[in-house]
Symmetry: C2
DNA sequence: CAGAATCCTATGAGATACTG
DNA sequence: CAGTATCTCATAGGATTCTG
């Protein structure tokens, strides 16, 4: 998830524009590698974005405040996560030109819209982690 | 996300068991690195798990069927994703001892429970990808 | 067909030091 | 304080080959 650029794993090999596929996908959706949903999902899937988003759900935070809230993130990763989220329009950055500079990050309206689906997933994780741990133990025993 | 083992980034440095913290978290939850929710979220965050889960939501699939549904996954990664999901109790594996062996994967009851929160997120991604792309273009221009 | 075994590279991400 | 710049290492993950 570097600086940007595309993400195409498969160069969309075949599919000349000419025989525009009369019966291409009979049933559901075999996932297109450059499907926009996958593109977006990959982002929430990274190690830190969701943590940052949930932190900012409690209101604007300064750089160091977020770092305190997520103790094991490095400055390097926090900076990059902020940039990626800002690029995606999920958070906004505001600089206060004080003596030691101070920067505040806050959710944008778009960013706020992800909180509900995200919270649903967090609740699921919270309800399920016991069952998952149990399954893991059982699995590891039989192996 | 190798074979297992722990994932502790920070060794939970301080916090001797003795002064059991009278005022430890004044407000919300500064994220504990080995919080179970994070552990679970990290898994759904990997590149392939969610795709596999959503594929199996349409019913049991064989190995090669899933591979056709997700064209750009390698056998290596598909095998590993299957194993991780099985270990977590999200999917079940059933072997049919036919001449060329055939293996079917299906969601467990636990695995089914993640579909709703997951679908909510997919719907969010679907509704938002246009706004996100727009934000990215705007961002890249001013940079 | 459904994997297991190897090999190899791209990159995610920590640690550290420097700067306006 | 809020970053940027390097260096470095671990590992996610692709390509290829082999097997029951």
């Amino acid at each position: 998830m570097g600086q940007g650029e595309v993400n195409v794993t498969t160069p969309v090999s075949g599919e000349m524009p000419g025989h525009s596929s009369l019966k291409q996908q009979p049933k559901k959706w075999p996932f297109d590698p450059n499907c926009p949903v996958r593109d977006v999902l990959d982002r929430i899937g990274d190690k830190w974005s969701t943590l940052v988003l949930v932190t900012l759900a409690n209101g604007p935070h300064r750089f160091s405040a977020v770092q305190r809230a997520i103790p094991d993130i490095s400055k390097r990763m926090l900076t990059q996560t902020f940039r990626d989220l800002e690029r995606d329009g999920m958070i906004a950055r505001q600089v206060f030109p004080t003596k030691p500079p101070s920067v505040e990050y806050r959710l944008t309206p778009l960013g706020e819209t992800i909180l509900k689906p995200l919270a649903a997933l967090v609740r699921w994780a919270d309800r399920s982690h016991a069952a998952i741990n149990h399954a893991r133990l059982a699995y590891d025993e039989t192996t």
